[in-house]
């Protein structure tokens, strides 16, 4: 009896998390799947099952297609750009120079504030009129006329990716830095004795040993990139047209603003499947790569 009571007392500690998790994660997920097969619009309490028609509609909705394609583009482009910046940055910040700590702080700081605020700051810099800060600089230095940074589809997409890289590269550099600092100096000394140049050392020792860090960093970037919302929303409001609409923004627009619950739920489910597929694929791929290196 005492033993059973003890077990019960232990299990009670699980109660809060199970309640909250079931209510705010599992139940809404299942409900999303259910709603995606209905024509529920929020006004009438009753609804009919409509099969896969919501899923078919996704591919006819301009906003939804834009949302998916821009979000995928953003996720992959920002992951690539941030990785390409963060690794060299980490290698440099690992060296010994006077302003090392100042630079670590400068590069890291943009990852601390809300993306919304950061994007608004950049909105001022990229203001498309000739009085915009960047356009002013370009005019003075190169005599280039005003560029529509946020209103041209290509430029707007590129701007969101670059600004996200500016915001997150330092954070990921710090992650790589931690792994760099755990690499034993003996490797480099042995390589130096064998006559390897600094560049060869980086290619043959540093990069392979950073593979586990790359798995973590790129996984975080890719899943985070798929959930992106604030920076494009604050920078371009999703424009021009639907060009920089993210999946999240489209779900809010179709689901909450227009109460097309069925359609938006189908969108949510597709989004979930994309996130899941990419995550599984990435983990598998990275594991294989790490095995090959070791």
């Amino acid at each position: 009896m005492g033993k059973l009571l003890r077990q019960l007392k232990f299990q009670l500690f699980l109660l809060p998390i199970l309640l909250i998790y079931t209510l705010f994660s599992i139940y809404p997920l299942l409900k999303s799947v259910l709603l995606s097969f209905t024509n529920f619009d929020g006004y009438v309490k009753s609804y009919d099952f409509v099969g896969f028609s919501n899923y078919a509609k996704i591919f006819m909705d301009e906003a939804l297609i834009s949302g998916i394609s821009f979000t995928l583009l953003f996720a992959f482009a920002s992951t690539l750009l941030i990785t390409v910046i963060a690794i060299p940055l980490a290698i440099i910040l690992d060296q010994n120079f006077w302003s090392k700590n100042v630079h670590r702080a400068i590069f890291f700081f943009p990852s601390i504030p809300s993306g919304l605020l950061l994007a608004y700051i950049w909105g001022f810099i990229l203001a498309p009129i000739s009085s915009g800060v960047l356009n002013g600089i370009l005019e003075k230095l190169f005599g280039v006329g005003p560029q529509p940074w946020l209103s041209d589809p290509m430029l707007a997409k590129a701007s969101t990716v670059v600004i996200s890289a500016w915001a997150a590269a330092g954070w990921h550099a710090v992650l790589y830095l931690a792994f760099l600092q755990s690499i034993s100096k003996d490797y480099y000394e042995a390589a130096a004795i064998d006559g390897a140049t600094r560049l060869q050392q980086i290619r043959q020792i540093t990069l392979p040993l950073l593979a586990p860090a790359m798995t973590i960093s790129m996984m975080l970037l890719l899943t985070g990139g798929l959930k992106v919302f604030e920076i494009p929303f604050a920078l371009t409001r999703g424009g021009p047209g639907f060009e920089t609409h993210t999946i999240t923004q489209v779900i809010v627009l179709r689901g909450i603003s227009e109460t097309q619950y069925g359609l938006a739920s189908a969108m949510s489910v597709v989004f979930f499947l994309i996130v899941l597929a990419i995550a599984i694929f990435q983990v598998k791929l990275m594991q294989k790569r790490e095995e090959k290196i070791q």
Binding site: S25, V174, I256, F271
Partner: protein, 274 residues
Amino acid sequence: MTSDNKKNWLLDVLMLPIGAITFFPFYLIIINTFKSMQETAVSPLSLPKKWIFSNYVTVFKETELLRSFGNSLTITAVSVLLMVLIGAMAAYPIVFNPNRTNKLVTMYLLAGFMIPFQTTLIPLFQLMTDLGFIDRLYGLIILYMGGAVFVFFLMMGYMKSIPKELPEAAIIDGCGVGGIFWRIILPLLKPITVTSIIYQTMWIWNDFLAPMLFLNSKSNATLVLEVYSAKGEFSVNWPLFMTLTVISLIPIFIFFIVMQKQIVKGIVGGAVKG
């Protein structure tokens, strides 16, 4: 990588312009808060000809900054505290009372870990409406509790490093299941608690989507929401809007300065385990 302790000043020269460009946006908004609208429009880059402070006075007069700061603080503090507690509580039986049920519970929690908030948005919105949680600070706080799952995984990883003999010795000393948790385990969790607090504080303090959807009256606005709604109101007055932005950045900047070492440590700890 350098085996000698000589400082490489060439890297200082190389990094100076790169660092300056990275910092440039912050320089820009700070100096423009001390300018008039006209001066910002004509010469946004240079230091103010005459430093004016009226933008700061106006911002405090025209917005409810202190109130939204208070709202952000309440929401963040309460939800982070509860999340840490719920997460730690959940990890306790999983680690110290392992059995088949608890293995299933772990798998159940892990399964939903990948669920993006966006996927659950629409049912969540209905649920929050049905519960009467819309436009209530406590409603948002309860919603954020879902983040306890992340804390749970951090805590579980850390708890496994606590020697099993410790609670066993406490049982002999007459400590109950609850007593062991509150008096022995919880105090040992300090390092991972710091990591959890940093991660969740940065998430909730900076969150925009959930407050935008679930808090609609001005009196409940968080700091981020206050800036968002001001974007529309001050749309033409850049210096004023930037002043508001700069003031909103101050709390998180202080957090960064005070916690920098822990943040860096926390990133690595959280990323590797989470």
